[in-house]
Symmetry: C2
Subunit: 312 residues, 2 copies
Amino acid sequence: MNVGPVVALSGGVGGAKLALGLYRVLPPDSLTVICNPGDDFDHLGLRICPDADTVLYTLAGLANSETGWGRGGETWTFMQALAALGGESWFRLGDGDLALHVERSRRLAAGEPLSHVTENVARRLGVRARIVPACDAAVRTTVRTPGGRLPFQHYFVRDRCEPVVTGFDFEGAGDARPCGAALAALADPSLRCVVVCPSNPFISIDPILAVPGMADAIRAAAAPVIGVSPIVGGRAVKGPTAKMMRELGLDVSNRAIERHYGDVVDAWIIDSEDAADAAGFDRPVRVAPTLMRTGADKATLARAVLELAAEL
Amino acid sequence: MNVGPVVALSGGVGGAKLALGLYRVLPPDSLTVICNPGDDFDHLGLRICPDADTVLYTLAGLANSETGWGRGGETWTFMQALAALGGESWFRLGDGDLALHVERSRRLAAGEPLSHVTENVARRLGVRARIVPACDAAVRTTVRTPGGRLPFQHYFVRDRCEPVVTGFDFEGAGDARPCGAALAALADPSLRCVVVCPSNPFISIDPILAVPGMADAIRAAAAPVIGVSPIVGGRAVKGPTAKMMRELGLDVSNRAIERHYGDVVDAWIIDSEDAADAAGFDRPVRVAPTLMRTGADKATLARAVLELAAEL
């Protein structure tokens, strides 16, 4: 069995859970997580990278398990004081979380590439996985709605995913290129597998794949690409995936997820509850419990991914 | 007796105490505090204005009475998290305090003048005095020492005022001009008095006077200029004033303070303990208790200042 390194593509909460499972079952220093850059935005003069930060905090053991974002044991003095000053308070930033945004913004302003800052911060927090954005350049998801285009965080946080979605644009993606660490990890001849985490395909994984050269590098990798479907029993575990699929005229089904990714993914894991869906797939499918409530759940799913990769 | 408005020139703690006394004994909306810009610096990508902020927090009732800087009831989660990320932690920023720096930096980056932001923030916090920097442009105190020149906060906070001082430079002062609100307050024909607070002359008041046009506007004001000496019994109440006077070859005396300010100040208040010093003064002197431990102390000194102004 191949014991080489693993690359995971991840958005926020759901992706970070599987990334944590992989991190725990793999040897140290053998996981690279390529994070969604499309949620990133500049707010209060600071660069905020919500998905990469969720992965970072999750792997560092600092995540807030109740909210699904930010840090555990957080204080909120900054936010209260900012509101008193009349500052924008719709995007909530905890006091400890703020340190990451301030330090990252400072280093970016000094000319350091985002991928270097992200990797380095993870190492500082004791994480023995490589966490990198898909690219150093800014890629910004905007959401098309009947009322016009919305910057992602306005749609997602301020408007609570309420507007109907008619499509997505990944601004800046055309001029971006995959960061060096992502390309190097995908080009490793000893690669064991690439994992597409059960994140939202439209707003978490597509922005990664929209970076020119990324999808080709994944297809060219010397290892199978395993996708874990974010749909369970016709619903999304969390977030607006199912709502978006309906609004985009898609079936809310595992098969629709397979079709969405096309030839980027070689084989699929769907939830045990959806075993009957396997028959409709074009590519190999395995069933496994995909709900990750406990640490053991995460490790079990991670092992199922690695076993499927070993079989191919 | 003139009941017109008052202008105070202030540095940090000591100046803010007298400013608070004046604020409490004067009618609302009749005090303008012109703050020292020389302590301002850019740190972690944020604009920090320590002296103006001490005045703001003091007048808003938010000051930390134990430290003499920052806010009371503060939390320190940001600083702890920043240190864990390897960020610079020698200059301590509380979580609530940080909101002011982030919001100010954002507004400055958007093109708003510093004086406008400072005034507006004070109003937001319910302060009915005008708090403004001496100028909108950056003026940065650097401290000359035998080992070379030090940026002010490196001298003051990082090196705890330990290096011997041989002089000061106010970088950028030559290109600055007094902010409009400061000039308007000084030009008010109904002005009651200008107060030079008992702040450090070299690093708190001189940077204000170094802004071209400021000293002339003070001399031209239609009201007497009253100075309160920061020296009591041959020592400074707080901070490095006495140490600096010795290092600069000056007597640590009230008379040396009078000589330092020359014709900018019309009359002086010195501490009751130093009544014997009055004989040596060139200008009118009154004695009053200048140690401001309680709110009553501050109001008493403020009244003494106003009474002296009324006599002249």
